[in-house]
């Protein structure tokens, strides 16, 4: 579903990604793990077309990164990206208008579960609410691929559980979920496999239960071991 071939990205002589090769299949929930600066965000930006100057090739369901691939991917960035000039309904309208797979029913139910008000101006929302709102929008789409960058970072534990539940509910055998996070313990139970990215290189791509079996450790513990300086 997502093919990443020999992707290398250098910023000013400093390598952010070095010869990354990954083949991510449908029907999986995959964790992209690595410390800050390991290249996770760079890779995600490339997959979403926000970074265009790199070597190598990326194919999303057979397409290069273009308007077609973007219609297949539902992306949740690690920052607030909603325009300030509108209210929630306005932002919803943009999604509804431009994404064929937007599911209004799903959106309304997610909003209710997350205690969000569609009529509220985005200017008046707190940071936490904006994050929940963005997540609700992204998960309201019936996309083939979900790319979530730090989805549980800034939210309270109750919302965290709800987010994990939403991800599981959205799971479909034809879809692929890629989650980048540094809060491994809370989320490792929903992964099929994990990618360890160390200083721009893939040092591991393995099924989680295999890791647990062969290492006798949790993914978080193994992660700490691999990334101990």
């Amino acid at each position: 579903m997502i093919e990443i071939k020999n992707v290398t990205k250098t910023y000013d002589g400093k390598p952010a990604l070095i010869n990354v090769n990954l083949s991510l299949q449908t029907g999986k929930i995959i964790g992209l793990l690595g410390p800050n600066g390991s290249g996770k965000t760079t890779l995600i930006k490339i997959l979403n077309g926000l970074l265009r100057d790199y070597k190598g090739e990326v194919l999303i369901d057979g397409n290069p990164v273009n308007e077609i691939s973007k219609s297949l991917v539902s992306y949740l960035p690690d920052r607030n990206y909603l325009p300030n000039w509108t209210n929630a309904e306005g932002a919803i309208k943009i999604f509804k208008d431009l994404y064929q797979d937007f599911d209004e029913e799903k959106m309304r139910s997610l909003f209710a579960k997350l205690n969000l008000d569609p009529k509220q101006p985005l200017k008046k929302m707190s940071k936490g609410m904006k994050e929940k709102f963005q997540l609700a929008l992204v998960m309201s789409r019936n996309a083939k691929i979900y790319i979530l960058d730090e989805p549980i970072g800034g939210v309270d534990p109750a919302a965290r559980e709800l987010i994990l539940k939403t991800i599981l509910e959205n799971y479909a055998p034809e879809s692929l979920v890629l989650i980048s996070t540094h809060l491994i313990a809370d989320i490792e139970q929903i992964f099929d496999s994990v990618v360890f990215l160390k200083e721009g290189q893939v040092v591991l791509f393995e099924d989680v239960d295999t890791i647990r079996q062969t290492q006798g450790k949790s993914i978080e513990e193994y992660f700490k071991e691999v990334f101990r300086c």
């Binding site: 979403n48 077309g49 308007e67 990206y81 431009l98």
Partner: protein, 275 residues
């Protein structure tokens, strides 16, 4: 997709214009009465206000167009705009069209305001009290006889496309420069560099066009040349168009617009690096 993008761009910017356009219309409606009142300090404030608002209108139009492009594409909002399932070319075209709509609308609203101001003023000063229809008909006949009406229509037909192209050219140049300064090619002092590049390119392109223009005039017979076209019968009224000049400017503008548009597209497709 294009229509939808334009719609959303317009929606995101109309608020800025609503207040300014309303203010202009209010001044146009109230202004004449203030002038008629003869109260000096009020008139002074009125004209200060008119001046201020006129400047403000054009400044706001200009800034809004810049902000529209910059914010949508290169701020945090870019994470939304650039991941929407819209072709890069569509995004660029939508922004240019939106900019064109607003700049044209500003000119129109401005013109209408002046017209309203003038009409009300003359009306309140007794201009249309008694309408002498016969005299009116005489005047209209006189104007038509001199071919002045045709002249006006002709200059509008001829001049309008070039004005539109010029407007679009400025917008596309703006888009190109803003795109350029936001890529990996320019890292520091983005705004001053941007302004400098705009002026340099603008000057360069005008000079190149002027050279072609001049060369073409030299190679023409010196008298205006006529190509069989839809407007040559209008020359009976003594107005002539230099078609060579016209075509050169027209084609030049189209080439520049296409070139700058393509360059902007290329930059977004290959050099984009969103923070």
């Amino acid at each position: 997709m294009l229509i939808k993008s334009i719609k959303h761009d317009l929606l995101s910017t109309y608020r800025d214009f609503l207040s300014v356009y309303s203010a202009l219309l209010v001044i146009a409606l109230i202004g004449p009465f203030i002038v008629n009142s003869g109260v000096e300090w009020m008139i002074a404030i009125l004209f200060l206000g008119i001046f201020g608002f006129s400047v403000a209108t054009f400044v706001i139009t200009f800034l809004t167009i810049i902000r529209l492009y910059n914010r949508r594409l290169f701020s945090a909002e870019g994470y939304l705009t650039l991941t929407l399932p819209v072709k890069t070319s569509t995004t660029i075209i939508a922004k240019v069209v939106t900019g064109f709509i607003w700049s044209t609308l500003t000119v129109i609203v401005f013109g209408i305001s002046m017209l309203i101001f003038g009409l009300i003023y003359y009306w309140t000063n007794g201009a249309f009290k008694s309408v002498d229809y016969l005299a009116l008909m005489d005047i209209i006949e006189m104007i038509t006889d001199t071919g002045a009406v045709w002249t006006v229509i002709q200059s509008v037909f001829v001049g309008l496309p070039l004005t539109i192209l010029d407007s679009i050219y400025s917008l596309v140049l703006l888009v190109f420069v803003m795109t350029l300064i936001n890529t990996s090619l320019i890292k520091k002092y983005k705004v001053p560099v941007g302004i400098a590049i705009y002026m340099v390119i603008s000057g360069l392109l005008s000079s190149v066009l002027a050279i072609f223009h001049g060369a073409a005039i030299v190679f023409s017979t010196g008298d205006p040349m006529f190509i069989t076209g839809p407007f040559d019968y209008l020359t009976n009224f003594g107005y002539s168009i230099n078609w060579v000049s016209y075509m050169i400017q027209f084609i030049g503008m189209v080439v520049y617009i296409a070139g700058l548009g393509y360059a902007s597209w290329w930059l977004l497709e290959h050099k984009l690096e969103l923070e």
